[in-house]
Amino acid sequence: MRNLGLKGAKLFLAAVLFSGVLAGCANKDDANNEVSDGGASGTKEVTLKVLHNWNGSSGAEMDMTPVEKVIKEKTGVTVEWEYTTGSETEKVNAIFATQDLPDIYTGPAWGGELDGIIKAAKEDQLVDFSDKLDKYPNLAKSIAKENVPPALYEKGIDAYDGKKYLLLQNQPATDKDGTDWLYGFYVRKDIAEAVGVDPQSVKTKDEFYQFLKKIKDANLQANGQPVIPLGGFSNGWAVGIANTMFYGGAGYVDNGDGTIENSFFSKGYDDYTLYYRKLLSEGLLDAEAFTQTDPIAKEKIVQGRVAILAAHYPAILDATKEYVKANPGSDFIPVGPLERAGAEPDRPVDLGIQGNNVTAITKACKDVDAALRLLDYLASDEGFMLVRYGVQGVHWDMENGKPTAKKEWFDKFAADTSGKLTARKNEGLEIGFSSMSGMDRINSVAGGDIWLDQERIAAMDNARKILRPNGIKVITAYNPGDVIIKSDKWEMLKPSMDKTNDAWKEAVYAKSDEAALKILNELREQMRKTGYDEAMKFTNENLKGKEVVTMQLPN
């Protein structure tokens, strides 16, 4: 009897443990699906899950920041954030394949991420809000035909037989708006001085190579380690931006006979690849540049072990803030301006400033009207100022018709030199709302970035003067990449086209120039086999007589 009781107890315990495991695996989302009536503004209160699909983005340390409190008061919506750590393209594919959908999706307006969300729209995974737009004027305005670049409008906004699934954000509302991120190579001032090179005297690819070589030959040490002549951030970002010295920098090149070609097939692309192979094989480019994680990359930077960085300037200023503070005179300054293949010396820099973010409401959204209410509020001028500046009267005031930061908060934000922006995030800034705040009106409607300190403004202005001597030209021409996808060969061709970046990196690490070119040529052959020639013929026919993007700098 005693044994039987013991056995029974064991069985019971096993069953309880097993059911506990199963219960632990169960979905706990139910707790967040609350919808209740009666917010402070009289609107229905609801919690919506927003996927902010930007790799590395992050939120506040608390659940409800001051900015989120105001948003809740105005719209009745509490946002529960989900941030992406990893590939944005993988994330967008994964959420639709597994049907683990947020209420609202927001993410990059380019590449595989955009392709993924357009595919989802075409396959009824998103909510069509075309019949509700008249109630939400700020949203209607942000995707009006005249406010969206034509190719993007055709590809992503007006591509569903009159239905509307996607919202575009951060496209400049006027010429005064829009951000030039000042991508380029930046060198540590003290190192340039140590090797006796004026960074502004470096113009050509050969001069750039000689500059790197001088740094290497100087055998400089930092933190007990040799200084790396050229490095970048995680996974190779944005080490490859010297491509503009070899071809136009856009995805397609002009053949000179009225037709265009994918730049991967150009002679300039071969030269560009072999140039990087040379940098790598001679130890001028960090061998870990394409494989390192973000913490490792930033560790090298904060230890002063990288002489020249390739990236946009704000990222460099953020990453080097602490080091520069501890080592005055070690700030990063622009190299060049470097030559641009095929560009006249007085040509303004061609930049694609066309909105960087798309937002959609998924079919799993528990309250579509609440989602639209939230997005419309964020896209309003009031919402725009709230998510860029903080709460009026708390973080900033309107003085003489101009938004002015309160000193207390300005000093608090400026004191945060970690680069993580924790102080700002805890107030509700930089946590994702600005991705969804309609067209960029930072200068035309608001009053510029009130949180920038004078040193940073001066550094950005200085870099702008050096790198943009002829100003900038915002690209409005057609992108062949938006046309080729309409070819009937695209489905077969796309997998090969997606490999160009992988092939380039593999070629850069090849043992010889011949091996590098072989890697590129093998992929070219595969692209031809999978319909490249027919797809290009289709693209050329469709772009006949139209202005096409063949010159572009990263932005």
Binding site: A287, E288, T293, P495, D502, K529
Partner: protein
Amino acid sequence: MRSSLLWKKIWQHKVFYFFLLPGLVWFFIFSYVPLFGVQVAFRDYTFSGGFTGSPWAGLKYFQQFFDYYKFEQILRNTIIISFMKLFIGFPMPILLAILLNEIRSIKFQKTVQTLSYLPHFVSWIVVVTLMQRLLSLHGGPVNELLIALGMEPVQFLYNTSWFYQVIVGSDIWKSIGWNSIIYMAAIAGIDQQLYEAAKIDGANRFRQIWHVTLPGVRNIAIILFILSIGSLMSAGYEQLLLLSGPATAGIGSVLDVHVIQSGISEGRLSYAAAVGLFQSVIGLVLILAVNRIARKVSDVSLF
């Protein structure tokens, strides 16, 4: 008659059989239920159509895979890495189990055993991060030591010259302790009288291992070898995804990583399913073939 006797015995020992239940449930949920999704390999998968509503595509995605210009390279790399892991890595746990069995201090034996199990519980992402730190060219302690000894620093990671050593070495380090458990159990089950008889016959420690211990683990080793052959087309996606970079792509691109990249990164779910199915079918054929050979050669087989 025999069948009813079997059921009677099972019923008699039902409590023990109950312990099988979680395992069976696990296999059913994670190995058999997903088989339903295999049909995606023969369909043009759409988010809206799902598994059953997407249009049929026939063998289109298999054809795409066979036409892929790196098909041969990926297949070759997978087989080479798997073979190396199998033939270098397979005997290691047996060796460790025998060595542990020969240790006379129980305390020391248990300590070594526990330490050797630990890497099994550490995820590949942690292992690779540790390796990146330890083996880095820029301040990694291993290279610091080499420099201190007057030697040239070595780029161990993402380097074709060291790729196989790193892959096979880290795999052995991570799995040797855990895989030795089953051999330890087999050794513990060997009749002690056999050792005593061997001693009386004048066998030294080495001879005892050779003539008693090794034959004692032979059958279990063959069974595990047959099962390992089934994974020959699977070189381990986490490890290869993390430890292979552009520099080693020529020798490090394997089927598992290709499946993940085409499915998750590129969103080609049907294609990825087709490649995965191809991998599984080859694995099954290999298991059947090796099982048959093992039965003929040694009378030990899975079925």
